[in-house]
């Protein structure tokens, strides 16, 4: 990725990425570190953002920022459980917007919405961006094994939510 392309990305999305990271970490300096980490990853492997689809690029950058920030949050609170991380994130997350209301129309939409963000994000990377475990691990700053486990859990969880919804 050349410096002009990076500069364009930075100008367009850095504040948004900062906002997402700060929402989770509650610390401006740590949030800046996360923005830096996310951009370094994208510069090193720009395949996911060079398709020219602005909305997809934006969502991709937001997603990796969120995951990197949650990782850091987790590292800084080593004893905290994954559920607590989820909880901490959802406290900071905005309520589902009105625009998203139509998703409830399909059971799968509802199941996706109910899925915790950490699990939904690995599914997005695997299915929407068609990334391999290794690539997801790179962007999210996780071990391959962690991604594999998270994917497995996400799929099970999605299936379970759908089953529960199917029961009248």
């Amino acid at each position: 990725m050349d410096d002009q392309a990076f500069s364009n990305l930075f100008q367009a999305y850095s504040s948004l990425m900062f906002y997402i990271a700060k929402d989770i970490l509650k610390d401006a300096y740590l949030a800046e570190d996360i923005v830096q980490e996310a951009f370094i990853k994208v510069i090193q492997n720009p395949q996911a953002v060079i398709h020219g689809d602005e909305a997809k690029t934006r969502s991709f950058l937001c997603t990796i920022t969120r995951n990197l920030a949650i990782n850091l949050y987790h590292k800084n609170k080593r004893v905290i459980s994954l559920d607590q991380v989820e909880e901490a994130y959802f406290v900071a997350q905005k309520s589902p917007s009105a625009e998203m209301a139509y998703f409830d129309a399909h059971p799968l939409d509802e199941a996706i919405r109910k899925l915790p963000a950490l699990y939904r994000d690995v599914l997005v990377m695997a299915h929407v961006y068609e990334m391999e475990t290794r690539q997801i691990a790179f962007y999210f700053g996780l071990k391959d094994a962690t991604v594999r486990k998270r994917l497995e859990r996400a799929r099970k969880m999605l299936g379970k939510i759908l089953e529960e919804e199917a029961v009248p």
């Binding site: 997809k56 799968l108 996706i112 299915h127 799929r155």
Partner: protein, 192 residues
């Protein structure tokens, strides 16, 4: 999940993914520190360069690893077939001592001063081989031994042989000790 239509999952996830972040359409601009953007780009390039260099140096590193492996192997082999050597101070005369002991024996005591040289080896079964040499009173080290060394005999350690000026004690029986002497591993040589 396996039962789900993969295309449908992809489509729904994609739609959610794009829509989810639409809620963050208006966020305040953040003032990053000066030069922040440039530093990120420079660091990314630096890290990419490092990775490329590591990739390029891969074969070299592998070769280095093999050499280190052989070096350690060689050192270990030398340790196993160790040759102790040293210069023993003696008024007006220096002796060089070189000998080997079987692998099973470890040096458990080593003393060397102007009066004597004293080396004790022991194996796991508490078999001793003791090399002793007086540098002053050679007569005092005759097989009958000075009284102070009777405690060796009490412990079943007895004089076995003279090797040049050294007296060799061991608690091995005669047969066992002779067997050791025959072994090529045992005494290499004593040099004066």
């Amino acid at each position: 999940m396996n039962d789900l239509n993969q295309d449908q999952v992809k489509e729904k996830l994609s739609a959610y993914h794009l829509q989810e972040w639409a809620a963050y359409d208006q966020v305040p601009d953040h003032d990053f520190p000066e030069g922040f953007e440039k530093r990120i780009y420079a660091r990314a390039l630096e890290e990419t360069g490092k990775k490329a260099r590591i990739k390029k140096r891969g074969p070299l590193l592998a070769l280095a690893a093999v050499l280190v492996f052989f070096f350690i192997g060689g050192a270990f082999s030398r340790y196993k077939n160790r040759v102790y050597s040293g210069q023993i101070p003696n008024p007006g005369l220096y002796y060089q001592l070189q000998f080997k002991v079987p692998e099973a024996f470890q040096l458990v005591r080593s003393r060397s001063n102007e009066d004597e040289v004293d080396l004790h080896y022991m194996d796991r079964d508490f078999h001793y081989i003791i090399f002793e040499r007086s540098l002053r009173e050679k007569e005092a080290w005759l097989p009958s031994g000075p009284k102070s060394y009777q405690d060796y005999e009490e412990r079943g350690i007895r004089w076995h042989d003279h090797l040049y000026d050294y007296r060799v004690y061991s608690n091995l029986d005669k047969e066992g000790f002779e067997k050791l002497l025959e072994s090529n591993d045992f005494i290499g040589q004593f040099k004066h």
